[in-house]
Subunit: 502 residues, 2 copies
């Protein structure tokens, strides 16, 4: 191997290792760390992030990438090496553009803002959070300016989560989704059908829920010996390596549904990470393609599999096993109805499959207005409450149940929210593609045979890892552009039946 290629692999391997090490420290902080470790952990995380950034944006790496640009140009653009140079150059050049001081200032400011946000949410006092939010937005504007020229000031923000995707690409999709969902939500609200989910409420011992959760993950096509499951406050999944997946969940002693679908959701993220090809390990191309694609996998397993009628058989078996003497009087149809109650709610993370996208739509629109200069942070609560009324028909009683509910803005993560809905859109497109490629999925899911679906995803999506930007991935993976029709078909069909809509 040409020593320059080896050097590239070595340098990128180092950057990758630093990122993975940081992921482990963050996982540990949220699942294992004694409380006394908090201060030191913040230093340790900051150091790893800083050194990783220094290495990623180093002049040596830049020169190496420049030197390899020509030989890489002669390779098949789909090859690992060509992709590696392309993706590494993209990351290097992005890292270059942001001055170290701005990066440091963002870290400091969002750390303070997150603390203020927590206090503000506790007291439902937006005013306490506002000056911090203003500062975060101001810094994010400066961040955006590092990437001038741009078509839309939101583009550089979005690009961090959805490489290459622009506001112009995304806005019509999410707008069409919101408009398509309106009549469905209204129809469900007007329906006389009330789905009964009382079987999921009651008293569910935590140990039994934990065992149920482990059994659920074992049922999913995730490599044995390559994952673990721990308890945390806000569930997440993280990959320390493709064969070292850390899933986390939480348990609600009075509602077993919380654990069931959180675990399947996080396992969905884990399955994607587990599918990253070995040849690309320790490289920036060896990661999932984008947050939208990541969310497409968590949602596909959570909703298209985990809340589907055929999955209720295997799920019911596990429930009966975990809670002896319970769920005897429940059949799969009843469990299916319980798993799919639609009920407009104030809180995004508690939202159902249908209304969830409306929570995202309003956040996306508010973010756009802020960065277009049409809305100031001070005006956010009013704008929030208005849109909540318009989209979900709900009155927001206080800011804790409104504009203060999510940490994302305090963390400076503008551009993150739309990837949740994008994930739903892609999941629906992939599901239709899977049905075409694999054939009828229902009998497989009914028997708990999920490997064929994983095989399809490995072949269609996972093997590309992060070799292409988000739009190009859409083209390759669903063999068309982004399209909300499959998602709307899925939701209208499923909930039209459940709620007996005309």
């Amino acid at each position: 191997m040409d020593p320059a290629w080896q050097e590239l692999r070595d340098r990128l391997g180092e950057v990758s290792d630093l990122g993975r090490a940081r992921a482990l420290l963050a996982w540990d902080e949220r699942t294992q760390m004694p409380a006394g470790g908090a201060t030191a952990r913040a230093d340790q995380l900051a150091t790893l992030a800083r050194i990783r950034h220094q290495r990623l944006s180093s002049g040596e790496l830049g020169r190496l990438l420049e030197q390899l640009a020509e030989p890489a140009g002669e390779l098949d653009p789909d090859s690992d090496d060509a992709s590696l140079v392309r993706i590494a150059t993209r990351e290097w050049s992005k890292a270059q553009r942001v001055p170290a001081e701005l990066r440091a200032e963002l870290t400091r400011t969002t750390s303070l803002a997150e603390r203020a946000w927590m206090e503000a949410r506790e007291r439902s006092d937006f005013g306490h959070f506002l000056p911090h939010l203003e500062r975060v937005v101001e810094l994010r504007r400066r961040y955006v300016d590092c990437f001038a020229p741009y078509e839309h000031p939101y583009d550089p923000l979005l690009d961090d989560y959805e490489p290459g995707m622009t506001t112009a690409d995304l806005r019509p999709v999410l707008e069409a989704l919101r408009q398509g969902l309106g009549p469905l939500v209204e129809g469900i609200a007007a329906s006389r059908v009330e789905l009964d989910d009382s079987c999921l409420h009651g008293s569910f011992p935590l140990a039994a829920q934990a065992e149920l959760s482990r059994r659920l993950v074992e049922l999913l096509p995730l490599e044995p010996g390559a994952w673990r499951l721990d308890t945390t406050t806000h569930p997440f999944a993280t990959a320390i390596a493709p064969s070292d997946i850390r899933l986390t969940t939480r348990y609600d002693e009075t509602y077993v549904g919380s654990a069931i679908w959180a675990v399947i959701h996080e396992a969905g993220h884990g399955i994607y990470e587990n599918g990253m090809p070995h040849e690309l390990r320790r490289t920036p191309a060896g990661h999932p393609a984008s947050l939208g694609f990541h969310e497409s996998q968590s949602r596909l397993w959570e909703n298209w599999v985990g809340r589907s009628r055929p999955f209720m058989g295997p799920l019911l078996d596990l429930l009966r096993e975990a809670f002896a003497g319970r769920f005897g009087e429940i059949d799969a149809d009843a469990l299916y109805r319980a798993a799919n109650v639609v009920r407009p709610s104030l809180i995004r993370v508690e939202a159902d499959e249908v209304t969830y996208n409306l929570h995202i739509a309003m956040r996306f629109e508010l973010e756009l207005e802020i960065f277009e200069g049409a809305l100031s942070p001070a005006e956010l609560p009013e704008a929030w409450n208005e849109r909540m009324r318009e989209y979900l028909g709900l009155e927001v009683p206080d800011d804790a149940h409104g504009v203060l509910q999510d940490v994302h803005w305090a963390a400076g993560s503008f551009g993150y929210f739309p990837t949740y809905s994008l994930g739903n859109v892609i999941a629906a497109q992939l599901w239709e593609a899977a049905a075409q490629a694999v054939g009828d999925l229902e009998p497989l899911v009914e028997r708990g045979e999920l490997q064929p679906l994983r095989d399809f995803l490995d072949e269609r999506l996972y093997r590309h890892a992060g070799k292409f930007e988000s739009k190009e991935m859409v083209r390759r993976v669903v063999e068309a552009g982004l399209d909300v029709a499959p998602l709307l078909r899925h939701l209208q069909g499923k909930y039209g039946d459940l709620y007996e809509l005309a």
Copy 2:
């Protein structure tokens, strides 16, 4: 603050963070990691170690230390800042001397050697391990040469674990210890007293042992909320920060003594780390002074407290609580005898308080002979078996129970073994100093009041952290030189009584 001092703190803080992060990854590997993570973890650990070493040996740090040498020279040598420059200069200069290639070669070779050692031990086949051991010794000789001139070729090896301590310092101490122990071991062997430890053998459910272990740590003066206890194969303790201590232990379902004293031992290491002063955090002076001092703390809590007659009251209470209906017929005297059986054994890690030091003496002597050129690796098994006969009166049945039992040599850790006995020597000296300073410790230990002992150690030992080299620490902490008399007094007194020796 002078910006140069701040820069020094920042640079050293980074080195410290990288070391702590590496410690967390190593802890995770041995306690939490799914099996699938092994390959990636090796890369991650190597990257963190390499970057830490680059930063520690960097020219920038060297120039900064040079620049601060003069202002530091004007400070009180006991001050934090003067100590910081002194210790950092020492570490920088040691890091400088070893070429990167030799370091990389050592890492590669010991990694292969450890694997070969594991296979060799399994098959009790020293020949399989020998070529690897020869290569490790050869590299360690080259390592030693990086530190020429030296008084003795073993000095640079010892210095990595016991800063500033030389072979000339240590050899007479361990020689005196071995000679002093000879008659005691013979006396015990000839004694007609048989101590009965059957109460510690039987069937002890793992969950109850785990709960007992937690209660034991809670009884010890370790900051609440600053530790956790996990299960592993080879127990160890590691500090991710002074208030983030990771203790590990193992459980033997048929012998509860294994867990009891392993937990107290590891907690002793943890208490020392927990006592590191906040002002020195994220600096190379903010660590325990040496491995010998570290071991002095694990041994002090394990043996001087944990196996003492007064501790048997609190321990018996915990045993009765953990194993309902058991230990009713056992009194504290019986438990004391069970906890202190002396029985020469082939395996170091199973050895009692008395014979342990003979295991160390023979390893230390063999290491010296190897680096003095008097013994070749090929001659080790025979030399081992001879010494085992001479010191402990035991015939070694095969190399798995002899020369192949420890990983240290495969790992290249020559110079490590003597710190175990050094720890015992220092522990005994500290214990006598504690009795002088605190007064009668027995009634305190009997009531489970261990904080006064911790207060003494905080004041006498922990507050110095790693500000001084090992010999200077001995001078300050026990107010005399190294002296085996207190250890021999302790062992002769205690076991003379137990075994009714004249």
